[in-house]
Structure formats: structure tokens, C-alpha cells
Symmetry: D3
Subunit: 176 residues, 6 copies
């Protein structure tokens, strides 16, 4: 059985991520979806908690008919030293054969540690990016079509739109 890892922050999980999961599952038998920066939430670039992201991913993959027997999500918090990241990945995820990533640094770190990395084909990369989704939420533009339907519902039901907008002007310890 071949095992793959797909790394992202999924803030939020969008249609491009869904296509990437499908792409990866054509290449491997089982996929660990690693949720990076898992400890971050309620920040402009990281609005959702790990728990909310796992819920979104599960809902999106179930809705997209991705077989739940073939994947599991694993949150991994950031570390100060990037050089340790491959070791943390190995310590937190069961043994794997390949990592799917388009990110330059992830790819470099893993290759420096002898891990096989493959770039993923995304659909329409420029629009299907989480940055784009968050920006459109902030700018009150239509964003729902960029994400799987259950993700849009979930973002709305947890007050995610207001949450993203509440972080425009200041952060937690913002000026007073």
C-alpha cells in the first residue's frame, strides 16, 4: 500500500484543495491530510481553528464522494526551526512514501531530508487560493463558489464571515 501526505493550512479548504486531494488519491492508496499551523486561529491569515478546519475538510470530502476509508487529517503546529519540520512530520504521521506540495520551502526542506515530493496540479490556481477566498470575504465579494458547498455553509454558521472582518483593523492586543 502506498501512502501519501498532503500539506496545507486550509484557511479555508477550497475547491483547489479538493482537486489536489483527488489528484493525490489517484497516485496513492491512503492520504494523510496534514493541517499546518494548526495552533493558529482568529488571525487575519489564519481565521479558523484546527477543529473547524478538520470539520470543513471532512464535510467537503464526504460531500465530494472521497472515500473516508482512504484519508485522515492530522494537525501539526508550527515550530521555530524549519529544519526540524521534516522530523516533526515523521514523528507525527505514520510512515509515508511521498509528499504532495507546490510550496517551494516545504519541497526544499523535505528534499534536503531525502523525502520524495511531487507537485500537485491545481485547477485555476489564481482564483482557487485561500488568500483569494479570505480577501473576497473581507471585501464582501462573492466567495462561496470557490469552496465546496459544505465549507461555505460551515463558514457562515460559525460566524466566520464576521470573524474574518473583525480582524481587519487590529489584532487581539490592538491599540486602545
Amino acid at each position: 500500500m502506498t501512502v501519501g501526505v498532503f500539506v496545507g493550512r486550509f484557511q479555508p479548504f477550497h475547491n483547489g484543495h479538493l482537486e489536489a486531494v483527488r489528484y493525490a488519491l489517484r497516485k496513492v492508496d491512503y492520504l494523510y491530510v496534514v493541517i499546518g499551523s494548526s495552533q493558529k486561529d482568529h488571525e487575519r491569515d489564519n481565521p479558523f481553528t484546527a477543529g473547524e478546519r478538520i470539520a470543513m475538510i471532512k464535510a467537503a470530502l464526504d460531500h465530494g464522494d472521497v472515500d473516508p476509508k482512504r484519508w485522515m487529517a492530522i494537525p501539526i503546529a508550527d515550530t521555530d526551526s524549519h529544519a526540524l519540520w521534516p522530523a516533526i512530520l515523521r514523528a507525527t504521521v505514520p510512515p509515508f512514501d511521498i509528499v504532495f506540495s507546490n510550496d517551494g520551502l516545504t519541497t526544499r526542506l523535505l528534499k534536503e531530508n531525502g523525502v520524495k515530493v511531487e507537485a500537485v496540479k491545481y485547477l485555476e490556481r489564481s482564483s482557487y487560493s485561500a488568500t483569494n477566498v479570505r480577501n473576497r470575504i473581507l471585501e464582501m465579494k462573492e466567495w462561496e463558489k470557490l469552496v465546496p458547498e459544505p465549507v461555505a455553509s460551515m463558514v457562515k454558521s460559525i460566524g466566520g464571515v464576521e470573524r474574518v472582518r473583525s480582524m481587519i483593523h487590529k489584532d487581539l492586543e490592538g491599540e486602545a
Copy 2:
């Protein structure tokens, strides 16, 4: 859909844990198996990494015919302040209805935070404990029957027996 959480360290996952998962899945539709102290490994009381524990749990539940559509593992690292633990659980796991636990402190912390907790019926508690399994490995007694068959194989194949024994006398920065 009712959602449950089952918390343990699973050092290693044993037959009592397997029964607890089965018990919980008779009560809820979906179960998050939370791997506590996920950051600990290669210690006398915590020999296995989070990744190894996820692999053991997956192998044991697959072998035990537990439906992979109905559970997922989520590692959670320790925190200094126990009072924060319920908030960490809520931030890391999708919304849940009930937590299964026999542990006094876990139960107290969660109840102090208004979470519903239910004790789990285990089989032959005294022998089916991870402490007992580790002690028997240390004392070179028969331990394999206390854990699901794939867990025994996995412990052996990763050198787990030698690992547990190598930690009897000293820890990492042990005397020299």
C-alpha cells in the same frame, strides 16, 4: 449525528482500548480518538511517537473490523495549565456531544467546563492497561496477548521492545 471523543495516550493501544472504542461507537455515530501527550516519545512511560500511535490505532481498528468511516485520530500535545485543556480540546476537535473517559482529572476538568462525560466499560481493567503492557515488555514477560495482533507486530517491527528496555536505566541526558 452524535459525535463522541475518546481520550487516551495509547502507549501502546491495547485490547481494553479496542473494547472502549467499540463501546463508544455503540453510543455515538462518529468518534474522534484523541491521542494525548502527543509530543512525548522515547520516554519510559511514553515510548511511542504520535505517528506510531496513529499507525497502531489504525491497524488495530481495521483488523478489528471497526468501520473506518466512523472514526479519526487527532493528536493533542500537553499544555502546562490543565485548566486550558477543555479549550484546547474544543479548538482542535470538531464539535462533539460527549467525551468517553474513566480518568478522574479529565472527567473533572470537562465537567467543570460543562462537557458531558461518560465512563467507559473496559474488559479486565487490571491486565488491560498500558502500564501493565510496558512493564511486561520491560520484565520480558509475555505481553503480546494484551494488545491487538497488528499492534504487537508493529511494536516489534519498529524495535519497540528494545526501545522500551533501553530507557530503563537512564534518560536522554543520563549520567556519564
Copy 3:
């Protein structure tokens, strides 16, 4: 007895903060002044230590005839995950009824956790901001009138003006 919490970073404590404390003490019997980002100091946006900030607040409130029986300062360090902040607040401060804050994220986090939050009326918000005070110190403009008199004396006596200016060009591990 009603108990309130007023959250800020107080870098430094200025006249707007003083008015906010007075406003809060008209609404509650006792006020905990929570010093956020307590672990930060000698940074451009966080020049003063927690100890210096407590000293400034105490001097300012004593000078402003705020009854010392009705308030206490409590420093709280930052945490990676904002979602944990309400739990940290509850673990570090005695039980309270209401939080006073104008900050969007603080308000949102606390409301998501069922905490009552009230906006505070400030005097002339644009000038009475700590950012404005720090900028004026940097630009060698008159800043002393924006803060209570003992705060101005204290900032000067600890070399605070030079400290703020020493951080314009580089941070601690700045280039060499």
C-alpha cells in the same frame, strides 16, 4: 458585587486608558486591569516591561484619585492560539461579570465564548492612542500631555524615550 475586566497593552498607559478605567468603575464595583502581551518589551510596539507598565498604571490611577481598593493589575502573556485566550483569561483572573473592550477581535473571541462585553467611551480616540504616543516620542514631538503626569515622569526616568528611539532601525538580532 459586580466585577469587570479591562484589557489593554498599555504601551504606555495614556489619558484615554485613564478615562476608560473611570468609565468602567462607574459600571462595576471592582476592576481587574489585564495587561496583555505582558511578555513583550523593548520592541518598537511594546517598549515597556510588564513591571514598568504596572508601575505606570498604579502611579497614574493613584495620581488620578482612583480608589486603590477597587482595582488590581494582572499581566497575561500572549498565546499562539487566540481561541484559547478566553480560557486563559478565566484561569488567570478571579470570576468576573463583564469585559470592557473596544477591540474587534477581543470582543468577538469573548462573545463566541459567552462572555458579556461592553464598548468603552474614550476621549478623543485619535490622539489618545498608545500608537500615537509612541510615534510622537519617535518623531520628537510633544507627547507628554497625552499621558497622566506620573507616566510621563516615569517614561523619562527609566530612559524610555531613548529606548523607543533605539528601536527604530533594528531589532535585537539586527544586521551587523
Copy 4:
């Protein structure tokens, strides 16, 4: 004005602590009561949160007619390196003249850093110790007379007796 610091963990605040505060306030004009290991709670040796301990201290000192104008509580979390502790104390507490402590290591660390330390006279040291209070709670012996009356009430009203007892057998990630 002379300023003192009194350091303790206050798990819980007992009659000996109260006498120590009175002793210190005969020597200095203002006292900062530093709550050490502030991040610990729900542990056998550290059952109460910083917030609960501040509430206990405030209630005990108010009940004991200690002037609220003359003291403030400041929580300080542990650090890995004890050598940093004097610097953390200085960064978190306003300038002080003397530290009151009977603890050997605290005294040594501070003296190695040129801080004046004075031993405190306690009443009946052997019985008025927090360890003794916690042990008596565990053993279901009479403990209420060892602490100020409002502390006894508070411990009971927050379920502190049950909390202490729930931690006898196992810690959070205890065996299952």
C-alpha cells in the same frame, strides 16, 4: 516608600501566609504578592488556578483587615532556567527593595543577583504549610482551621475538595 515582594505558590493561601504578609507589611510600605508557578493548576501539588489563588488571597487579606491600598498580587509562570528567575521577577514587578522568602533556592538565586532577601517568621511552620493543607484534604481530615475562613469557603464552593481528591490516582493523560 519601601517596596517588598513576597513569593509563594499559595496552593492554597493559609494562615501562615497571612501572618507572613502582615510581617512583611510591618517592614515595607507596599507589598507585591508574587504567585509563583502561576500556569499550574489541577495538579496534585498545584490544584488551583492563578485566578482562584488571586481570589483567595484578596478575600483572605480583606477578611484579615489588611489594607488593600498596600498590596497587589502578580502571577509569574515558571521558566525552564532558574538562573533567569531574578530577571523575570524584575521584568514583571515594579521596582522593589527587598524580597521576603524562607525558601533556600529563591534566597540563593536572588542573593547571587544582588537582591536583598529576608526570612519571614511564620506561625507554627509544620502545620501551616500548603502541603499539609492539601494532604489533610486528601486524607479527609480537618483542614479548614489552617486557612483563613474565606479561603475555606472558596475552596469548597469551587469544588476544590473533590478536585484535590480526583488527582490522587492519575494525572490528565493517566492510564486507561
Copy 5:
């Protein structure tokens, strides 16, 4: 014997650093070269690990005929609170008489703690800066002459040029 400390991040070690070491060794008998932000690597402003930086410094100083009996490198990780930095320096480095630094904040922090600090004469400061070296690597300009020859070889042999360039567009958890 007089002992000095020279603090830098050395990302990477360049000719200006080499001159600074020589300058310092004319003033003191022994020099500890403190590698700041030692925990950072594979970041745009901190591409190299502590180990790589120690190797570069050793190679550069050996190549530059700096007597290996007269210096040693000591890595120090960042801390949240800058106010603690002088205490960390004292706890991590053997006793010293003077610190060599041109950095405003380092100088201020140390002087606030009674440490003697001396500015260092650098050669052609504007070009011999690590920021300049990193920018030239990014922009594919000639950079090798700004660093000692063994540093240039080492950067190339560990794939440092590609590493620096791989971090232009995104960081580890970059968008996908």
C-alpha cells in the same frame, strides 16, 4: 585575561564580521562569538541553521588565520521578552568583561543591565551587511566577494543559493 563577546546572527558570516572579530581580538584575550536567533533557519532573513553558521564561522576564521585558541562560538535562541536577554547571555556564556556590538537595542539592553558595550569598526558597512549578501543572492548578483572564500563555497555546497531563492514567494505554510 580579558574576555569579550561578539553578538550577531551571521546569516551569513561576511567580511565585515571577520573584521569585527579581528578588531575584538585586538582588545580582548578571548572572544565568545554568540550566534543569535540560533533556532531560526530556512527563513528569508535567516536561511542557515546554527550548525551551518558555526561551520561557516569556523571555516572563515581558520582561513583568515584567526587563532582557534582564542575564540569559541555559542548559539543562543531568541526569547519573547527582550528584557531577559542579558540574563540569558550571562547564563549561557562564561564570565565576560565586554560586549562588542553596533546594534542599538543590544547596546541599550546591556547598558540597562550594567554591561560594558563597545561599538565595532566595520569595513564598508553598507556593502558588508548580511542583508546585502542575501539580497544579492536573491537578485542573482555577484555576492561571493562579500564573504570569506570558505563561506562562499559552503553556501554553494549546501544548496544555500537555491534555499534562499526558494523562500522568495512563500513561507512553509504558504498558500496552496
Copy 6:
């Protein structure tokens, strides 16, 4: 050039450590002496700071005529997850060929990561252990002959004997 690593806590550096360094330097050209648990000090089992330990090692090796061109000390702090230790070692120390260690866990961790490890021959292991040295200091027995002469002087001159004894009864936040 072959490069070795010798790992220890050196609390304090004793004659057995000195012999181990000599042994290692007969096998390799250059040796990195890694000071483990570098962040610990003023604890019963870890009385000395990293800086004090570097000073002791340097004095002992100079006194023992070990060529200063052939070694350097590098402090490394503990990490929660032992599985990351080999990656931290690789990130903090320049490239090496072999690690010298008698410790079971260190040996196992490194071998699990494909690092070559060799046991070191010590002189009279039972007496030349740092635990034995600390115990003899505590028990007021003769301990000076177990360590190189400059280490004995240094321990005394920094008040190390009193420091070790001050930690018998309580730790920093000890009972009051």
C-alpha cells in the same frame, strides 16, 4: 578530517568526562562537546548553568593539555519530543561522522536515525559519575579528586557547594 560529537550534561565535568574526551580525540580529528539540558540550572540534578559548564570544560581541557584547536562546546536545550533530538543535533552542530555516548537512549535515538554511535571507555565508571560527585557534595564528603582541579576551584568560587546544598529540601516554588 573526521568529526565527532560527545554528548553529556556535565553537571559537573569530571575526570571520566576528561578521559572520554581524550578517547574521542584519539579517534577523530575534531570534537564537538555537546552540553545537553543546557537550559537547566539551579536544580538538584542540574546545578550549573550552560555558561558555567562551558567555563568548567574549557578550564579542564586547557589544564589537561587538550589542544583547543581540536574541540568546541555547543549547548543544546531539551525538547519535549525525544524523536526530534537527532534533527536538533544535526541542525545545531556542523556535519559530523560519529557520536560518542554510553547512554542507552541517546544511542538508540541516533541509531534509529542512521547515525554512527560508539561507546566510550571510561575510567572507574562507578565513582567518576556526575551523580556521585553531586551526592558527595551534598553529603559533605570529599569530592574534589573526582574532577579536574580547575573544576573544583570553579565550583567553589561560584558558591557551587552551597548552591547544591540549598536545593536539598525544596525547589524554587517550594512550600511556604
